[in-house]
Assembly symmetry: C2
Homo-oligomer: 164 residues x 2
Amino acid sequence: MNERAKAFYLGDFLPYRLSVVTNRISRAFAGRYASAFGLSIPEWRVMAVLGSFAPLTANQVAELTAMDKTKVSRAVARLARAGHLKRAANPGDRRSSRLALTAKGRGTHGRIVPLARMLEAELVAALAPGERARLDAALDKLDAWASRAGSHFERRDACAGAEP
Amino acid sequence: MNERAKAFYLGDFLPYRLSVVTNRISRAFAGRYASAFGLSIPEWRVMAVLGSFAPLTANQVAELTAMDKTKVSRAVARLARAGHLKRAANPGDRRSSRLALTAKGRGTHGRIVPLARMLEAELVAALAPGERARLDAALDKLDAWASRAGSHFERRDACAGAEP
DNA sequence: GGGTGATAGTTGCAGTTGCAACTAATGTCA
DNA sequence: TGACATTAGTTGCAACTGCAACTATCACCC
């Protein structure tokens, strides 16, 4: 009836809730697997997409991983230094290079992927049957909303996907 | 049949998916509201819990916001400097202080909360009826899993930022 | 061709973060 | 009371982050 409406509980606030859960899961993933191979999450993401899709430019990696090009650049530099990937000249465009995993990189990738699958399986096991599909659907909708909201209201973004 | 199992697609990896969606939403929230009041997300969280629960110690704030005590300490320092909250001596324990919003802080809180509710309403509007409740339930389960996994397996993390 | 504007990727910089180490105040137990 | 472990909160540090600015290359078009 007055301006003193219902109390606001942070714990019920969806963005907060998503953030907390996501961070806990990321932490579990990083702590159990990624860091055991000396990889940060951005590096793991780069390796993951390079493991699936043949040679990619850094730009394509950025799109596939939803990461800022700066982040990709640094992750690629570290992975190259560590011998996990190599850059080959891109015949069609000398500004970019074709990134691909080395044998060592493929080895690491091959060891992490099963562990990632295992972690995901544990995660899904915590859900009821069919609940994962519904979760994915909900996340799709939220993502679509956030992408729209981000591009409409946020300050002038240079280009593509906003990202973490 | 051999070690070359199904390809791994990062885009289907649940931790990754959660991270991307969460970050987009946080960004939309921060860009549209929090930053308009000069508040970072950690600061907004502190104000949110102080707005609901009378005086709290920094420690209690840390628990309620699921933030590191360091983060809380810095957020509180900035909020105090900006005049949004004040620290009062804690009679029972001189190590901590009782934190509470000032009049100015309550004013800001009172203006942000309706906007936060509005954003959440938009978010929920993107979902089907009943889908939000199912999402919450799923998040609860994932959270429970992550808390368990984190406390059991985690130990010395490197220092990689946490994000899937 | 040569100018103009876009694009790929890198780097400088300022701000944020978590962990470890630290100070200060309690608590405990003999 | 006096040593010793605990807890509240702060700070040093080293790493990560995004943005803006920059270089190099490409694309267009007169």
